[in-house]
């Protein structure tokens, strides 16, 4: 059915058409960064109220804590990172063009972890975690999808 732009009826018709095609997104929750330990990448583990009915608090905190641990591992200052830094310096930083850095390896691990968590825990509950790297490591974005059975409240 073609929309009639000048009337709201037309818009309602379009709306109904689209409801059938895409799962309606109810809202998004953003878990912000926790800077209490400095500029290292850490996310707040505080359980957001919007997720109360959706997922178990402990599970959520475990996910975020594991994420934090993984990022800490990526940014750890230790023998390995110093070795990598010195090697890079000696080769005038050309080595980074060929080798994958430790950080990048851990980021891949994080992607796999998030995909895994989504498949096992969050997707069955109508939630989706977005990898923080896609948001510039600023937030963990959790998209809450509506149950189709429940009205969207419009």
């Amino acid at each position: 059915m073609l929309p009639c732009p000048s009337s709201s009826r037309g818009k309602c018709k379009l709306l109904r058409l689209q409801e059938l095609q895409t799962p309606p997104v109810s809202s998004k929750v953003f878990i912000q960064r926790d800077y209490t330990s400095g500029t290292i990448c850490r996310f707040q583990t505080k359980f957001p109220s919007e997720l109360e009915n959706r997922v178990d608090k402990q599970q959520f905190e475990d996910t975020i804590q594991t994420l934090n641990n993984l990022y800490a591992e990526a940014e750890k200052l230790g023998g390995r990172s110093y070795l990598e830094g010195c090697l890079a310096c000696l080769t005038a930083y050309t080595v980074f063009l060929c080798l994958e850095t430790h950080y990048e390896k851990v980021l891949k691990k994080i992607s796999r972890f998030i995909k895994d968590q989504n498949e096992k825990i969050y997707a069955p509950r109508g939630l989706l975690l977005t990898d923080p790297i896609e948001r510039g490591l600023r937030v963990v974005e959790i998209t809450i999808f509506e149950d189709r059975g429940v009205g969207s409240g419009r």
Binding site: F30, S37, E50, L77, L107, G153
Partner: protein, 450 residues
């Protein structure tokens, strides 16, 4: 008249109405674009996004020219004499230093300094909501700062109006590049790029190696002149043939700069913080220590120079998702009535959800004057108009300067509109601009407590 009707819904209903598709054939045929092509900052990209430079490349060609000319003169005039009279290692050392300097310079100039991608419209709306709900009852929008504790020290985070987020600690917005850069040190015109978290170590190795190079050349030239004078040739002629003059003037400034940055590295400070005196002990005894220092020179040096290399957050070579591509296409003019929201730039296929949202948001904006804060479901189709319109400006294409400057300015203006619900919306000319003065003052007033 039929064409007028379709024109009205044209930008919205691409995937619904076949007629509109015919009128904009290039949208269907649009190849997937890489993110660097729609990057909102003032940067230039080469090699399909692999190389990033500031748009204001400053005097990078001059820097390169000076280095190459100086070394060229050195190798041409001094080396033959010194190889003959001293040792063959002189050009070898000079050559190695020269290569190191050039590679470091290129790494500094062509690397992403740690640019933070701008907040997505959803994030921006969420932050706005949090600011609103933290208690400002006055009509003026609250000043955008947030206080947090870092290592038991109070640090203020400022809200960036361009990037629509609270800047992480040590992040600053570079006005030349129009980007927020993490651990922002300074914008260096000599390398034509910002110096930040990701390329500070390259910059440091560039200036240290350049110090060594210029000192080495300076020393060799002095030796050469001394030997020549002993051999009886005139001093003036010898000087004319040498790169002495360039070296003489540059060696002191470069040595000074290296010394300064060595101090910064050892105390884990940035030039920005040092200039502003953020952690200066003069300000107030115990309270103003640097919360980022590891309290050890060696540890600070290792952390800054040999720490793990963070990845680039802007993902230059990734492909733009179809949703965002659609938003980017429809943003060149942020006008409210749907049929004037022209797709002068390329039109991409939109997701139908975006279609609906924008239609509703634009009509809401006209008809409704929301008094309260935006609702809690930003993507719900009833939600305030902030999202639909805000999604557009944030993906403003940077290929053409002027429309995007307009976007940026109009975004800034819109943020200061009185009604919080309109805060992220595109500006209507009728909205008062009384709060323009607040745009750059982010330090006054109360601070919403986290």
């Amino acid at each position: 008249m039929k064409s007028c009707e379709y024109q009205q819904i044209d930008p919205r209903a691409l995937s619904v109405s076949p007629l509109s598709a015919q009128s904009h054939p290039q949208t269907k045929a649009q190849r997937p674009r890489r993110k660097w092509e729609v990057f909102p900052g003032k940067n230039r990209f080469f090699c399909n996004g692999r190389i990033i430079l500031s748009r204001q490349s400053g005097v990078l060609p001059l820097t390169l020219g000076l280095i190459v000319i100086t070394c060229g003169l050195f190798f041409a005039f001094d080396c033959p004499f010194l190889v003959e009279h001293l040792t063959v290692f002189i050009p070898v050392i000079g050559g190695a230093l020269f290569v190191f300097v050039i590679l470091s310079l290129f790494r500094t100039s062509f690397t992403d300094p740690g640019i933070l991608p701008r907040a997505t419209p959803d994030e921006a709306a969420d932050i706005e909501r949090q600011i609103d709900s933290s208690g400002s009852s006055s009509y003026r929008p609250p000043p955008r700062t947030k206080e947090i504790l870092i290592n038991q020290q109070v640090v203020k985070l400022k809200y960036c109006f361009t990037c629509k987020m609270f800047r992480p600690p040590r992040t600053s917005h570079c006005s030349l590049c129009d980007n927020c850069v993490e651990r922002f040190d300074h914008h260096c015109p000599w390398v034509g790029n910002c110096v930040g978290k990701r390329n500070y170590r390259f910059f440091y190795s560039f200036i240290i190696s350049l110090s060594f190079l210029t000192s080495f050349i300076f020393g060799c030239v002095i030796t050469h002149l001394t030997l020549r004078c002993h051999a009886g040739k005139s001093l003036i002629q010898a000087i004319q043939e040498s790169p002495l003059v360039i070296c003489f003037f540059s060696v002191w400034s470069i040595l000074g700069l290296s010394g300064f940055h060595t101090y910064l590295v050892a105390s884990n400070l940035t030039t920005n913080e040092d200039i502003k005196g953020s952690w200066s002990s003069k300000r107030g005894a115990e309270d103003s220590g640097n919360p980022y220092t590891y309290n050890g020179i060696i540890k600070n040096c290792c952390a800054t120079l040999c720490g793990p290399m963070p990845p680039s957050l802007i993902d230059r070579r990734g492909f733009v998702p179809p949703d965002e591509a659609a938003a980017a296409a429809c943003t060149s003019e942020i006008e409210l009535p749907p049929f004037t929201a022209k797709n002068d730039t390329n039109m991409c296929t939109q997701s139908t959800k975006d279609v609906l949202e924008r239609m509703l948001h634009s009509s809401d904006f006209h008809g409704v004057c929301p008094a309260g804060p935006p609702k809690t479901s930003p993507l719900g189709l009833e939600a305030s108009d902030s999202l639909g319109a805000a999604r557009a400006p944030s993906m403003c294409s940077r290929r053409a300067d002027s429309p995007c400057t307009t976007c940026a300015r109009s975004r800034k203006d819109s943020l200061h509109s009185i009604n919080p619900a309109f805060r992220l919306a595109s500006p209507s000319p009728s909205l008062p601009r009384v709060n323009l003065a607040l745009s750059d003052t982010q330090e006054k007033g109360f601070i919403p407590l986290p």
